[in-house]
Amino acid sequence: MRLTSEEKKMLRGGNGVAAKEALELQIEVGKFFGAKRLVPVSNVHMMGDIEVMGDSGKAFLERMAASGASCSVPTTTNARCIDFEYVARLGQHPDEAAKEKQLIAYLRKMDVITADTCINYQTLYQPHKDEHVAWGDTGTVIYANSVFGARSNFEAGPAALAAGISGRVAEYGFHLDQHRRGTFQVDVNVALEDYADWGALGKLVGESHQDYFAVPVFNGVKRRPSADQLKHLGASLASYGSMGMFHMVGVTPDAPTLRAAFGGAKPAEKIAVTRRDIERVYASYGAKNNPLNLVVFSGPQQSLFEMKNLAALLDGQKIRSGSHLFVTTSNGVKSAARALGYLEKIESAGGIVLEGVCFYILQNIAQIRVRNGWSNLVTNSAKLANIIGAHKFNTLLRRTEECIHIALTGEES
């Protein structure tokens, strides 16, 4: 790889041991992908919580912080595994909560902004077209590439922290034009409305094309999707297909036309998605004769608009006795929802609104499931329906209003 004089200095340890280690990691990864150089980034978003890092990751952060490491570009954190207000109520382990607090202190010492959100693209930072960023959480990356036209690869926690410290990333993958062109065409022959419909589309396309470098081009979308609908589509594509980018003709910035989306090339494949396909996704989920006593709106965190909608659907209602309804969102959105009265409506109905976390990464979630007698998890998030399987939940993807109906009655309509 070609290195600048500043980068050579970093590699020699001229900017400290942390910058040296950061760059060494980035160069090895860059060499794997054939990168020829590093490019500066303007914003970094990283995952770092005790559930995913464990004691070894925490010890690494402690060492880095003690070495004087500091981020050279604005660096924010993704959703974490503990909402400190709910540790006792959820039955999370106080020792792990204490570790999480230490871990946050290490990050802050390195000038990381612990914003704890997976919807940074809605609430914190919106990069412009072709801006290089280094984001973690796959949903944030696919949104940056696709909807903003910015440039990022999936950056895992230690890789994102390395980018924060060095202020650059190796130039490969979605930083390069050649990987940003569409590779296959998806004709959308159905009007999609609910967030779950968009997630179901992502599941259909992602599950059948699992490849980071596959870039679907959605064509024929009947109605301009909202930011939240694109959020659910992107999160689902990334979750089921490990995809980092999509185009939507007439909607996303690199796809003013079908031809432009493919960069003038022909699609390798064309598929079509119909109403029947979407309904087939819903039909693939079932309760397996276990109670429908858990409904979750999470993965990604809820926007203020989603909070408003949930508040309206739950206004004056009561969650069925014995059932639970969880919502996760960011600190900023929860604060606004409180000021606007949305939070009171959700909580009065019996809903629990957690901040700064995502449901599937909650510390101790497998034990929480067992303790509460949960088997089924009903959600409007296709991503959550996919990702929480490792904790032995049986998931049901349902449209938002159906999720609320189940929370109120314990039954499907």
């Binding site: 999936f154 230690p158 490990s242 990702i387």
Partner: protein, 143 residues
């Protein structure tokens, strides 16, 4: 054990790490340390996964694709320190997270293969993964 099956070399497209030998766990299904793995025991834990119940520790995992998530970056480092890590990940296609995680943890990783390994490698076989030569060689085949 025997070595009756022919042992052609697989060439891999990209590779990182040191030369390792070990017992194969091979699957037609993709892999994610977040979705599929119990990161306290090393067991593939997701119900219905083709390798459910198998333990990753000291294995060579051969899988066609990487699934999902950002978690691999810390997760590989975590399982390495818990001494339940595999010796190598051999992916058909992977994503940067797996590579970043493997490099950070010092676990050998490869991507891309010149022939479909499932035709001649089985779970339980012993193989050598050589990231320098970018090859996978069958050493011992189970009956």
């Amino acid at each position: 054990m025997n070595t009756k099956r022919s042992a052609p070399l697989i060439k891999v497209r990209r590779a990182y790490g040191v030369v390792v030998e070990g017992e194969v766990l091979i699957s037609n299904e993709g892999f994610s340390p977040r979705y599929d793995l119990d990161r306290w025991t090393g067991l593939i834990s997701r119900p219905g996964h083709a390798l459910e119940g198998h333990n990753l520790k000291d294995k060579i995992l051969i899988t066609p694709s990487a699934k999902g998530g950002i978690a691999a970056g810390w997760a590989f480092y975590d399982i390495r320190h818990k001494d339940i890590a595999p010796r190598a990940f051999v992916f058909g296609v992977t994503n940067p997270v797996m590579v970043q995680g493997a490099v950070f943890a010092g676990i050998t990783i490869t991507e891309g293969w010149s022939r479909w390994p499932h035709d001649w490698i089985k779970t339980g076989d012993i193989v050598r993964v050589d990231p320098i030569k970018k090859t996978i060689r069958l050493l011992t085949a189970v009956t």
